[in-house]
């Protein structure tokens, strides 16, 4: 066990470094679950109301795509499990993998790991401590979730099942994070790989739930789908937790095996030498920014291509499913007809693209802050490059990067859906528009990040917090009838639901103006403040 000497001390260190991040993550998870419990209790008071609502959900492809089916239709717990399983799994998965990568690859990249490893610390201790902190974090979160739901009056068995299901999903993605951390030399790339796995898991579950019945086995491929298949509040299948535990163990063991095969600081994917001299074009701040943003732009665009194609492909299957069931068809005709339902699904899917684009916008807009704190801004700003020129060179990618990604996603969705319904000429412009209409909301996030960067650089990570708040307002606030003034805080509230609704230019224009004002304030602040690491 010499390989693990010092793990306990490192766990303490990592827990202390995460003393804000982990409680915030826990609070978000408890908030999602607790607000769902109170929301459904208020909305549907009788079993009949709940069943009617659940039947509507189970026939609505957009809902199935986003959240999955309601398994227990007559009880409040069933609705809570439906609403929180996929969304909660997505969030706890991201928190877990970020935690593991931050303390493993992140430490190696900054060189702190070397300092620690030179002490009486076993070669596997850092990875072990990173995984342990994430797993303990998930267990504690599950405990709080179970207590919250139990004391809110839900049956204890179901509460514990749902809480453990979410915690177990977090643990599986901690394992994914541990593997990704072994692959690349940069923590940023590792986060990209692991986040892509989370996105793929969400997408697989969405496809399995929303597509034709013979596709439903696909849900089993996704750790995010396991919570749903655990059937919380409906004759729980506890053995699904064993599946998650075994997967976590397997992934972690694989990560340790990879970790033992490589040098400290090295990745498994090798680094190639670069050119001895710079290409003639590398002579402006914008050219530098292009080099720095290019990998992210390509990665996000590839991701949007896949998500767009998959959501477009699911459109046909969703239409077929509605048409094949005369009973469902009748329900939907009353709700607005087949065409409208597929459009509602497409609008929801494009809204999801908008949230992803906003995440990309925040990531890209944070880049100048990271350059500054790493000490790479100073050498550039000590040349003829002005501060504004430098900041704008990054801003270009924070604004246009999400535009490119959304266009790729919309085009892919339009091409695939159009091809399956023999209407490419009709669907491509429609879905391209539906994707691009999300852009002003993504720009608000880029602008907010820029404003924080210029005016309050220490608080710049709060941009991620704003994105999470907007996400929750959209996912929970709308469903539970929160105060409209509160919902209006989120830019996504104001995005027209194209193609289900018609385009209205005014809210988009207002969003663009707000984004412009925030950006201008941020740039003005950056010009005046101290620059340094």
């Amino acid at each position: 066990m010499n390989d693990f000497v010092g793990t306990r001390d490192l766990i303490k260190l990592y827990a202390r470094r995460d003393r804000v991040k982990l409680p915030v993550g826990l609070l978000i998870m408890v908030g999602i679950v607790a607000s769902s419990v109170t929301g459904f209790a208020k909305l549907y008071t009788t079993a009949k109301e709940r069943t009617d609502f659940a039947n509507g959900v189970n026939g609505n492809a957009a809902q199935l795509f986003m959240y999955g089916p309601v398994v227990r239709t007559d009880a409040a717990g069933g609705l809570v499990a439906w609403r929180t399983a996929a969304l909660g799994g997505l969030i706890i998965g991201l928190i877990s993998l970020f935690t593991v990568i931050r303390h493993s690859r992140g430490e190696e990249e900054t060189g702190r790991a070397e300092l620690i490893r030179a002490g009486v610390v076993g070669p596997r201790a850092q990875l072990a401590a990173a995984v342990a902190v994430a797993v303990v974090g998930n267990v504690v979160t599950a405990l709080y979730l179970a207590l919250t739901m139990g004391f809110q009056g839900l049956p204890w068995g179901g509460s514990i099942a749902l809480a453990l299901g979410l915690g177990a999903t977090g643990c599986v993605f901690a394992g994914i994070g541990a593997i990704a951390a072994q692959l690349t030399e940069s923590a940023r790339a590792a986060r990209g790989i692991a986040s892509a796995v989370v996105g793929a898991a969400f997408l697989l579950r969405a496809l399995g739930d929303a597509g034709k019945h013979d596709l439903s086995w696909v849900v089993w491929l996704s750790p995010i789908g396991w919570t749903e298949r655990l059937h919380p509040f409906a004759d729980e299948r506890w053995w699904v937790l064993l599946l998650a535990a075994a997967t976590t163990a397997l992934l972690t063991a694989a990560a340790f095996a990879l970790n033992a095969r490589r040098d400290l600081g090295a990745g498994l994917l090798p680094d190639r030498p670069g050119p001895a001299t710079a290409a003639p074009g590398l002579r402006t701040p914008l050219a530098l920014a292009w080099r720095l943003h290019r990998p992210a732009l390509l990665g996000w665009s590839a991701g949007f291509l896949v998500v767009g194609a998959v959501t477009g492909g699911a459109g046909k299957s969703i239409g077929d499913q509605i048409d094949s069931s005369s009973a469902l068809k009748e329900v939907f005709e009353n709700l607005g007809g087949h065409g409208d339902l597929v459009d509602a699904y497409l609008a929801t899917a494009m809204g999801t693209l908008g949230l992803l684009a906003a995440a990309y916008a925040v990531q890209a807009a944070l880049r100048p802050y990271q350059e500054e704190t790493a000490g790479r801004a100073e050498p550039v700003l000590a040349t003829r490059t002005s501060r504004i020129e430098w900041a704008v060179s990054h801003l270009v990618f924070a604004l246009l990067g999400p535009a490119v990604a959304l266009a790729v996603g919309g085009l892919a969705a339009g091409l695939v859906y159009g091809a399956s319904t023999h209407g490419i000429g009709h669907e491509v412009p429609r879905l391209l528009g539906a994707a691009l209409v999300q852009l002003p909301a993504a720009w608000i996030l880029a602008a907010l990040t820029t404003a924080l960067f210029g005016l309050a650089p220490r608080a710049v990570q709060a941009a991620w917090g704003a994105l999470v708040v907007f996400l929750l307002l959209g996912q929970l606030g709308g469903a539970f009838g929160w105060n409209q003034k509160l919902l209006d805080v989120s830019p996504f509230t104001h995005i027209p639901r194209i193609p289900a609704a018609s385009l209205s230019a005014t809210p988009l224009l207002v969003l663009v103006l707000v984004a412009a004002a925030l950006t201008a304030a941020g740039l003005a602040g950056f010009r005046r403040r101290a620059v340094g690491s």
């Binding site: 990249e109 030399e185 940069s186 680094d271 190639r272 030498p273 670069g274 050119p275 001895a276 001299t277 710079a278 290409a279 590398l282 002579r283 402006t284 701040p285 050219a287 530098l288 080099r291 720095l292 990998p295 790493a374 000490g375 790479r376 100073e378 050498p379 550039v380 700003l381 000590a382 040349t383 003829r384 490059t385 002005s386 501060r387 101290a530 620059v531 340094g532």
Partner: protein, 314 residues
């Protein structure tokens, strides 16, 4: 002689810490100026004020005739900067970083750049994340020396360089001086400063405590004297300029303010001298006096901690 850098009364506070506390600095055009001080004395803060990265809370600062905060980009076209801790872009090669920084500054002399890469024995093909500290430092040095600028701001530029590369660096600074360039060199390596610098400013706790040529600084501080006298000394302890007096029979050792050396020697010869060793302070002693002493007085009257002495007779 015009002034390349003139700063007076600079104040900069970060929260409760006063990083600069009325700092004065004056660097003439064409000189190599040593900038010395213990860790945390405010050297890097000063350089970042000169670069326009930070704005001083109070005081005047002029750089190449301009205001570094307002005329930033114009001034930066005329200077090159090497930070003490160079970080490079992980996915750019060293060669790319050199060319980029040079071009952003206004252009690189291709031949000189290649020559410098060779002299520093740098592999320009490696990616930024693969370089050791010394090699990252070389990348920044090549980029700075390859550009045609009037002023070099070097913030502990040789930390991490091996002695061979240190020699290359000293050679290059000497060349820059011959070409009439101005250099502000913040450093901890005293040999480097003694070899290169025309004038020196020592700062401590955000203030310049001494500034001048090395011989001026020596003049301001104490010479250590050790003498074998004819008779036991008398009255020496009463002289206000004599410090740390130790008497063993007819042997005396003491430090004396260099400006008052003549009067004290006259007193000694009055007693009768059999042997005498005078040793001017080394640069190291000058520093240690300022680095260690608590509540140093500007007139240098009290140094609470005795400076270590090398052998008295040389």
């Amino acid at each position: 002689m015009t002034s390349a850098i003139s700063a007076s009364g600079l104040v900069k506070t970060f929260g409760g810490t006063r990083a600069l506390d009325g700092l004065d600095l004056s660097v003439a055009s064409g000189e190599v100026h040593g900038f010395l001080g213990p860790n945390g004395a405010g050297k890097s803060t000063t350089i970042r004020v000169l670069l326009g990265m930070l704005r001083a809370d109070a005081g005047e600062v002029r750089l190449l005739g301009g205001d570094p905060w307002r005329d930033t980009a114009d001034l930066h076209a005329r200077l090159a900067y090497v930070p003490g801790d160079v970080t490079l872009w992980p996915n750019l090669s060293g060669g790319e970083a050199i060319d980029l920084l040079g071009r952003l500054r206004g252009g690189v002399d291709r031949r000189r750049r290649d020559e410098l890469v060779e002299r520093f024995e740098l592999d320009p093909k490696k990616k930024g994340r693969a370089y050791s500290k010394g090699n990252r430092q070389k990348v920044a040095l090549v980029a700075a020396f390859a550009s045609d600028v009037e002023l070099l701001l070097l913030d502990e530029p040789t930390s991490g360089l091996d002695p061979l590369m240190e020699a290359v660096f000293q050679d290059l600074v000497a060349q820059e001086r011959e070409r009439g360039r101005t250099v502000l060199l913040s450093s901890h390596i005293l040999g480097e400063v003694e070899a290169l610098c025309d004038r020196v400013t020592i700062i401590r706790k955000g203030r310049a405590v001494e500034s001048g040529t090395l011989s001026e600084l020596r003049h301001l501080s104490r010479t250590s004297v050790s003498a074998e006298l004819v008779a036991a000394p008398d009255g020496l302890a009463g002289l206000p300029t004599v410090h740390d007096l130790r008497v063993e029979g007819t042997r005396v050792r003491f430090d004396v303010d260099t400006a008052e050396l003549n009067a004290v020697l006259a007193h000694l010869t009055g007693i009768g001298v059999r042997g005498l060793t005078c040793q001017p302070p080394t640069l190291e002693e000058l520093f240690l006096r300022h680095y260690q002493g608590d509540g140093d007085q500007a007139d240098g009257a009290v140094a609470s901690a005795p400076a270590p002495r090398s052998g008295a007779a040389r």
